[in-house]
């Protein structure tokens, strides 16, 4: 009996480890990154290549995009990312047909960010090509909050965001999808749930891109330190970071 039990638990353990290896970022070989680096090392200034949209929308399916607006500076940087990279996140339909191109899940935790977003979207050139679902999260940690208050708010966020993320994850299944995060603390919980669901839904992917704040030059933020081990693509905006503390990170210059 004992032998059988231990054998089963051993097999389970092995399965869990294999699954973790499959979903966590350290073991993934980043071919594009290497190619790009080789290009840079050759001294060629990498030419901005035409992006092949076909690679994203193979079956003319809309992109499911989750974006989290942190607060203050995080929100500011994220809105700039949406602005600067609109051609790939939201692009115009080829003909005049009003196909919805992007289904945007907009996560936020403070009303000021929501207001800023609504202000931003009202002048946005692709506003008619997307459906926006607003998802409110509870802030996981306030700036300079103490330990006990942080613990309470973190568990609250964990509890309430479970269902929200699960619903989004199910919508994303079998559709092109992207999760774009740039902090602060609430992003860790969002990532955690996405990764937990990825663990159980075999064959799915999370496609989480985390962009560390422009303010971080020589050290990572708390969120960055955690997401370095969880996010699928970890992007920094200063080369110093990549050279010193997070060699696995991707660096393309300042993005915001």
């Amino acid at each position: 009996m004992l032998v059988i039990l231990s054998a089963i638990s051993l097999i389970l353990f092995a399965l869990v480890i294999t699954r973790l290896i499959l979903i966590l970022p350290f073991f993934k070989v980043d071919r594009n990154g290497k190619e790009r680096q080789a290009l840079m090392e050759n001294g060629n200034k990498a030419q901005p290549r035409q992006i092949e949209h076909q690679t994203v929308r193979q079956k003319d399916k809309p992109l499911h995009l989750f974006v989290f607006l942190g607060s203050g500076g995080h929100t500011g940087e994220m809105l700039r990312i949406l602005q600067n990279y609109d051609s790939v996140l939201f692009y115009e339909p080829k003909n005049e047909g009003t196909r919805i191109q992007t289904i945007l899940y907009l996560g936020y935790s403070d009303l000021q960010s929501l207001e800023k977003f609504k202000d931003f979207i009202s002048n946005y050139k692709y506003k008619n090509n997307m459906i926006i679902n607003y998802v409110q999260f509870i802030k996981a940690r306030n700036v300079n909050a103490n330990m006990i208050n942080s613990l309470i708010s973190i568990s609250k966020t964990l509890f309430y965001s479970f269902k929200q993320i699960l619903r989004i994850k199910l919508q994303m299944l079998n559709n092109p999808h992207l999760v774009l995060l740039n902090g602060p603390g609430t992003c860790c919980i969002i990532t955690l749930w996405f990764k937990v669901f990825e663990f159980f839904l075999i064959g799915s992917s999370s496609n989480i891109v985390y962009v560390e704040s422009l303010a971080r030059i020589t050290s990572l933020s708390m969120t960055g330190k955690i997401l370095y081990y969880l996010a699928d693509k970890f992007v920094v905006q200063w080369e110093d970071l990549k050279q010193t503390i997070c060699p696995r990170a991707l660096y393309y210059g300042i993005l915001v």
Binding site: I51, E77, K116, V143, N207, V209, A215, V256
Partner: protein
Amino acid sequence: MKTAFVTCGATAPFPQLIDSVLTDHVLTILNKTWGVQRVVIQHGALYSETQFKDTVSKVFQDTQYTSAKDNSECRELGCPSLTSAHVTTTVGNSLYLVGIAYSSQVTTILSNADTVVAIAHAGTGSILDAFGAQVPLCVVPNPYLQDNHQQEIAIRLSKMNRLTATERPTSKDLAVALLSLHDHMVNASHMTKDESSHVIPQALPGPAEFCRLLAQTATE
């Protein structure tokens, strides 16, 4: 009216920045050197109107305040209400001070040709807003935040000549920074457009390769 815009960020309070601006010395420099007649201060919701009045009154006794709601100036500044006062510095420079809790039109105010200088905490949101509007920027890093991370970016960007940063949040440091920023701008005005592009703040370009990363990551 030539304007200086002051902002201390929405997330964490930073009263030291407002205290440093609202001093005889700094206001004199703003008026005399920069030609500023109006100083608009976005003090955030965490810094009350009363606090704002107290700070002004400490420096300029017997100041008369006007509160306004929904008038044309409120609409211009994108805020529901404001507190304003006329003050005169000890050397006789008169300025019009406006305190607002929060503006939804920061980029519009900064882009206005009348806005000649911006003074901000070293948060990336404020820095990027000023870069986008190409307005001369002086930052005061808030040293009370996690890892003092504002200091780091302030030093780095000031080395790249994109802004001027103070070392500490004091009026003395701010005065020095505002004077050196002004010298900088005067020097830049004698340069060709190409040379001055390194001095005058401008939007930082976003690389196309990040686009590729996004496109390749967004799979099923």
